[in-house]
Symmetry: C2
Subunit: 632 residues, 2 copies
């Protein structure tokens, strides 16, 4: 059962982000899409739809397509975020404007259902001829997601009808007419699965399956030979597009990290639906490859700028990481889908890790700027400047030509109910601890009140005015919580621990309370000795949050700091940075005698090192930053 | 006074390399140039000259140019090494073959003196039209160097006459006809200075000066607009070619490291000749930029594969370093030229660092394989494989299409007399301690016997049968030697210390001995706290040698090793790897529980860590390797 519409957030840590997105970011993105923000790079996304509509209506258009080949997807992701926003906060004016955009999209749709402004405006004779590069299916996928979200959240099905026509055209092309192919950038698979689940139309499942099943052939090589046109100066790297092997044989996460993680999410969607063991097995293996060998402590993935890609096991450089915000968003998607198949806390732990660290770091605290790349170490003078670090900006820029990340963050943070909770006939499951109210059947509900992640107290309260809630209540026991205390109506709760979840049996009556005390003692965390970049370093966590050191709190430098191995970690409530505590730990500050290499060990003087949550880094000017700090 | 022809090496550490080059590498390279090595990539270098000759003689040729646009320079560097080889060991057959090659070169020269097989065979109408990319002046420079070397070492001036005609043509084109331009890849400047010094012809100095003086304009941008042809898909990066500023205003070493260091060498040559303060000041500033902020501990330079370039201050990644062998050879050239202007041990220290570490590491101990890229950390499974590490091979390959490094090493290691000694009217100076005999005037000589760098005892013995040697004797006090004891004929020597040199006053009589005991106690060396990649790490040196750890000596892994901070460093004579001692130091081996991140600190058990000289790494199979090791 989908928990999206059953969830209403309550004041708390993530609610602040939800508000920021609804209040600031969704309207800002709208302006961007209309090219109304001075100084920002031109988007032209709505303009592309206007041109496409004009062309379909008059046979020609005044102007040309501008932007990335996947510019349409910015509109789709914005509409998806609008849908979630409208569910959270009614806004008649916004809804009206969204409806107008949808009407514009309708006008840009061909009579046969085809929708893609790049092809309509720029290359009408080239439809479906460059699946590798042209992101036609990717854009369709995002718009399908927006359509389903709009139907789910507002009940309005105008966009859904539009996108069903496009989906039906795809079914006709790939299944009825049996044309070979699958997308260069996966996304449509998971979108088709959303559409299938919402509409019940089996053709959409079949098409998602077809894309999954045929992937791994040399189709792109053959397509390239035939098509005689290109968008980028292509290279035949089959790992980049995850087409090096049939997906069921893939065991290592490779290539473009966002493509990979979207593909795995679609695979998990299909595996859940079909129950096919080989596909589930591949999903599990790829999950392990990602999270046990190729994931940063912050939940970021993608070690290399080159190809925005996964590289090799244990290659996790901190300062040159690609660690794209979108890829971390994708990891949340993948984790959620694995959870739907197997309720194991490993999935939810990673989902939480990615969300509270990499994803949130993607956004400036005031919501005005975004990181695409989220390194774990930043070196002013090198980061953003050296030829190897051009991507690793030390400060969030305003807006990018490729505007993928901000709307991806927006749609995730406005649909948290879907990730925080699980619900089926047997159990209500709290995966993440987002304060809010989850509506159950028969007018029942469960409400979580908490200052998490600032504090570790969770209070779940059941409402069941009519009937008791006859389900089990499962809650994740986070791996980071050394001791988790669970009480039920004041007494120690009886529960069974199952795959990292505490399962309390029902029924739950009106007013029943489950209170949880997670251990929020800050902890040192150590990297595998196989990670060359982190040798002899340590990082700090408290609850789900990873911490880092910045100059402003530490006497102007971070590279000269060492951690005292056995020292106490103090928790100091913060007056800034979202109200989450900072940490203080004893360390040493090394002297800098200006020599490049010296035979004498640098002098070390004791100092107190201040650590702030990673998500809040680079909010106070240009700074050195380090997550992994050397131990003295 | 040039010390090349005055020096004869004696058995010892570097003599082994000299022998290897003469016995194995020069003949092997000759076969490569003739395409006679099966399995090696085709060179076609001699064939290109044959084709050019055929074309000039018959108006057409059967076949086409093959190889890099600078393929001619492989022939030049080989001829230069042959010249030095013939000086060291007579080889009538080799000399005859070299003469035949020179006749072939003569046949490939145009009537007006022009020589470049790429242009003659492939683009006869495009001469001088693409100075940025086409390496025309670069190839000329290398061939001029070969010509001077051949004249210096064998007395034969056939190639010199050929190259003077080419140099005269260049003078005509750039000075007489006043055509604008300078080379994309500097090299011809230092070559012209060699030619000027050998011939005394002031035009060659003027031309070198012209190239130096005009560099830094937007000439390449304008050339690109006019030329309408390209060799590479060019990009307008003026730092890459060191044309971003007039050379006298350059203060930071930027761009392609080999180009940079060849340019600085040429600048130093000109500055020495003209005594111009502004040029000397630029040389000093660039020297400091290179050696005080952008140089690896091994004397390697060039932090990035992208553009084979310098990056930013203190950006010295170990595993992704470019650290090209040729650039370290170039650093030796630059250091030698700075020494010619200012006898300061800083220059010779860096020269020695680059020679004994990065340059020697470029060559397999058996002389059969070569590294172009010399990382300070190697990670099998990542190095040579991850997209970020494709250049950083963990094992030396056989031969490259771009064969720049092996002949560069060959010409350097067969002309060591030029780098080891300095000689002027007032002083004999021992910069490096290469065993051998330096001939002075009046039948006098000074001979150094030593097992250096295996041991720190140096015995200099004067021969002066006719007249006493009436010069001072200066010897470098290496920065790494904590206590240097100098005795003269058995007694503590009186000497003045001047800029890192001990200066002993003459006269020296026949049989006089100066014995030196350098402190060879192995030492820990610490990186600047500004080098992010080396935080909390330590490296080991003994004498001029930098050490590293490899798997084979250390229980199969290196990444899991930590150094015990205060432990003794034992010196253990080695039976392999060139006979230089290995080091043993107490450390800890960390456990690997297989977790990517863990809340428990890895278990540490005491162990003895074995370190070998860096130059000898990767001679015993695929291995993890680390120069900078974490301290426990």
């Amino acid at each position: 059962m989908d928990t999206l519409n059953r969830f209403t957030s309550l004041p708390g840590f993530l609610k602040r982000y939800e508000d920021l997105i609804i209040r600031e970011i969704v309207p800002y993105q709208e302006k961007i899409l209309w090219d109304q923000v001075e100084g920002a790079e031109k988007s032209h996304a709505f303009e592309n739809f206007l041109l496409a509509a004009q062309k379909l209506e008059t046979g020609r258009c005044e102007g040309t397509f501008y932007g990335m080949v996947f510019q349409d997807s910015d509109v789709a992701k914005w509409l998806e975020a609008v849908a979630y926003s409208l569910r959270i906060r009614l806004d008649a004016a916004l809804e009206k404007r969204a409806d107008e955009v949808i009407e514009l999209i309708a006008r840009a749709q061909h009579a046969d259902g085809y929708l893609n402004t790049y092809f309509t405006v720029k290359a009408p004779d080239k439809r479906w001829s460059n699946l590798e590069e042209a992101h036609e299916l990717y854009c369709a996928g995002h718009m399908i997601e927006a359509a389903v979200a709009m139907a789910e959240c507002t009940g309005k099905t105008r966009l859904l009808a539009i996108m069903r026509r496009m989906a039906d055209l795809m079914v006709k092309h790939f299944i009825t007419e049996n044309n070979e192919g699958f997308p260069g950038h996966p996304e449509v698979e998971l979108a088709l699965m959303r559409l299938y689940r919402y509409t019940g139309e089996a053709d959409y499942l079949r098409l998602a399956q077809r894309f999954i099943d045929t992937r791994g052939s040399d189709f792109f090589t053959r397509e390239r030979e035939h098509r005689q046109w290109a968008i980028w100066s292509g290279h035949d790297d089959r790992e980049y597009t995850q087409t090096h092997l049939p997906v069921r044989e893939q065991r290592d996460a490779v290539g473009h990290a966002v493509r990979a993680i979207y593909l795995y999410s679609g695979m998990a969607d299909v595996a859940r639906e079909t129950g096919e063991p080989a596909l589930l097995e591949a999903c599990r293996a790829l999950w392990e490859s990602v999270t046990r060998r190729r994931m940063y402590l912050t939940g970021a993935i993608g070690s290399a700028y080159e190809g925005e890609s996964f590289t090799r096991d244990y290659h996790l450089p901190n300062d040159t990481a690609y660690a794209e915000t979108c890829a971390a968003v994708g990891l949340v998607f993948f984790a959620r889908r694995m959870l739907e198949m197997e309720k194991r806390s490993e999935y939810a732990d990673a989902m939480e890790r990615a969300l509270y660290n990499c994803v949130l770091a993607g956004m400036q605290l005031d919501g005005t700027r975004f990181f695409y790349v989220n390194p774990l170490e930043s070196l002013p003078g090198i980061s953003g400047e050296a030829v190897t670090h051009r991507h690793a900006l030390p400060q969030r820029p305003k807006w990018f030509t490729c505007a993928c990340c901000p709307p991806n963050v927006a749609r995730l943070l406005t649909s948290l109910g879907r990730y925080a909770w699980g619900l089926d006939e047997k159990a209500i499951t709290a995966h993440l601890f987002v304060p809010g109210r989850l509506t159950l059947d028969d007018g029942a509900a469960v409400t979580l009140s908490t200052a998490y992640p600032a504090e570790g107290k969770l209070r779940f309260r059941f409402e069941a005015k009519k009937l008791p809630v006859n389900r089990a209540f499962a809650l994740r026991l986070p791996a980071w919580s050394e001791h988790t205390e669970i009480r039920r109506n004041g007494s120690t709760a009886a529960y069974e621990e199952r795959d990292g979840y505490a399962v309390l049996l029902g029924p739950f009556h009106d007013g029943d309370e489950v209170t949880v005390t997670l251990s929020m003692t800050p902890r040192r965390i150590y990297p595998s000795v196989r990670i060359g970049a982190d040798s002899d370093r340590v990082a700090f966590t408290r609850g789900p949050l990873v911490y880092c050191a910045e100059c402003v709190d530490n006497g102007g430098h971070v590279l000269n700091l060492q951690i005292e191995p056995e020292s106490e970690i103090r928790v100091v409530p913060a007056e800034m940075l979202g109200g989450v505590a900072t940490l203080r730990v004893q360390g040493r500050r090394l002297s800098d005698d200006g020599e490049l290499y010296a035979y004498t060990r640098p002098q070390a003087e004791p100092c107190e090192i201040t650590l702030i949550p990673y998500y809040a880094w680079s909010n106070r000017g240009l700074t050195e930053m380090r997550v992994w700090l050397p131990e003295a």
